[in-house]
């Protein structure tokens, strides 16, 4: 059975093209992916990301427990702060990537990918043995609305939310237009913005109110198509493409999210620590095509005439007009920023340049 979010009828009424994504019937675009993409970069966009998972983790051992399942040091996470991390398996591979929020004493909110909720829950339950922890999947009770773009701040202010003191990667309980919710200053676009977690029954009201109040800021509803081009430009990983159970955070270029001095043991620590010390055999790179051809998921990468890896996410970059990709390649020093590699597209090799990530630099970090 394909699932629908509480906002499904809103999307259909707005003329969205709907597609099946991770078991959900979701809007892929309302008008044009390129137009929607530019709206978020220049003004303001509203996304329904209610398909994502919301899991509450609480209990006497909640901190100890979460610290055991992710490489990040959860003991250092302050109240109302958020941290990007990964759920690692015993081999250092990734069960999922997550954002964990500390919302109380021994109380956390975990936001996970829609496609991975079941795997995540199974994995969490398997790891809680002997610990005093409650794992409470509330995904079915909450909707998640994301407002993203340089004017997100203006919209939040207009809707009566006092954002002063709420920095990037923090979460606060808030009342916006009379609706009680959790407001997190996070997103998946490379822009400033907020993700608003609200009980399902208030989601339609909030959706309409945001579109109404956002009019003066040029707001538009944005589908999953533009969400993907936006996150790719920001070089944010997509689980299932750029990350899976065989990729480690080190290979994926996520070493910044793996503290080197964490004392506590966690799943995969041995492999990850070894990779931090001795390096990895493959690495994630960014690339920009030198011609008009478009690199896509699973296309092969060549270097000096030999197969050297494959594209994991690729496509057009509406902000730059270039064609870009994330790819895993052999970790050799010759494949470095500025180097030329080739992508096999329709049985021909096309030149691309290895570039620094992200492809588009976030302009509005606060």
């Amino acid at each position: 059975m394909v699932k629908e979010t509480y906002l499904h009828d809103k999307h259909v009424a707005l003329g969205a093209k709907m597609v099946d994504f991770a078991g959900w019937h979701m809007p892929v675009q309302y008008s044009s992916i390129i137009e929607e993409h530019k709206t978020v970069r220049e003004n303001l966009g509203l996304f329904d990301v209610s398909h994502m998972g919301e899991v509450f983790v609480s209990g006497k051992d909640a901190t100890v427990f979460l610290n055991k399942v992710v490489p990040q040091d959860i003991t250092k996470l302050a109240y109302e702060k958020a941290v990007y991390c990964q759920l690692t398996n015993k081999n250092g591979g990734l069960v999922d990537d997550l954002i964990i929020y500390k919302i109380g004493i021994e109380s956390y909110l975990v936001i996970c990918n829609a496609s991975r909720i079941d795997e995540d829950l199974n994995w969490l339950v398997r790891n809680k043995r002997g610990l005093d922890v409650k794992i409470d999947n509330q995904s079915h009770n909450y909707s998640l609305l994301a407002v993203q773009g340089p004017k997100a701040i203006d919209l939040m202010r207009k809707m009566g939310y006092n954002i002063d003191g709420q920095k990037s990667f923090t979460i606060k309980p808030a009342v916006i237009s009379g609706v009680k919710l959790l407001a997190s200053r996070t997103g998946y676009t490379g822009e400033d913005g907020f993700e608003l977690m609200v009980e399902n029954e208030h989601s339609e009201y909030l959706w309409d109110k945001i579109l109404e109040d956002g009019k003066e800021f040029g707001i538009k509803p944005i589908g999953l198509g533009a969400r993907d081009t936006l996150r790719l430009e920001a070089a944010l990983h997509l689980y299932g493409n750029d990350l899976d159970e065989t990729t480690t955070p080190i290979e994926a270029g996520l070493s910044w999210s793996v503290p080197k001095d964490k004392q506590a043991d966690y799943n995969g620590k041995e492999v990850i620590t070894e990779q931090l010390q001795n390096g990895v055999s493959r690495k994630l790179i960014g690339l920009v095509m030198k011609d008009k051809n478009i690199p896509r998921h699973e296309y092969e990468i060549y270097f000096n005439g030999e197969k050297a890896g494959h594209v994991t996410s690729g496509g057009v970059s509406p902000s730059t007009g270039k064609n870009i990709a994330l790819a895993y390649v052999k970790n050799i020093p010759e494949i470095c920023t500025g180097a030329t590699i080739q992508v096999m597209i329709r049985e021909k090799l096309h030149d691309a340049e290895v570039v620094k990530r992200p492809f588009v630099v976030k302009r509005n970090r606060v």
């Binding site: 093209k17 992916i33 390129i34 198509g225 081009t229 478009i294 896509r296 496509g315 057009v316």
Partner: protein
């Protein structure tokens, strides 16, 4: 008579319409709408021959890459170069200025029997 009244369409969304002694081939508006923002187009060289149902061009939207097939076989006599440089124009017009190639058909009569007029094509795909 408009183009839509005269053209025949394949179930893979190509249209073919007679113009003088040649045939014009393109993609239907329904196909373009399904693809969304067109960002890449690769057309064959003039003089190339293709059989019916053979891939003669590649098109990509933001979302995906697709192949375009010959609704009938023939030899390419002209390609719409302007579109290769600005494939996004297909989103505005895939007929008058949005044709892809012109061909000399090899056996139009026998090869066009499975093609549908626009009205029936729309019924079939929607």
């Amino acid at each position: 008579m408009s183009l839509k009244d005269e053209m025949l369409c394949s179930k893979t969304h190509e249209y073919v319409v007679k113009q003088g002694s040649e045939y014009i081939i393109g993609l239907t508006d329904y196909a373009i709408d399904q693809l969304g923002d067109i960002v890449f187009l690769e057309l064959p060289e003039v003089g190339t021959e293709f059989a019916k149902d053979e891939t003669f061009a590649n098109i990509e939207s933001v979302k995906a890459a697709s192949e375009i097939y010959m609704p009938v076989g023939g030899k390419v006599t002209a390609v719409n170069e302007e579109l290769v440089d600005a494939p996004e124009k297909l989103n505005d017009d895939c007929y008058e200025n949005g044709w892809l190639i012109k061909i000399e058909a090899s056996d139009f009569e026998n090869e066009s029997t499975d093609l549908l007029n626009y009205e029936n094509y729309k019924k079939e795909v929607e």
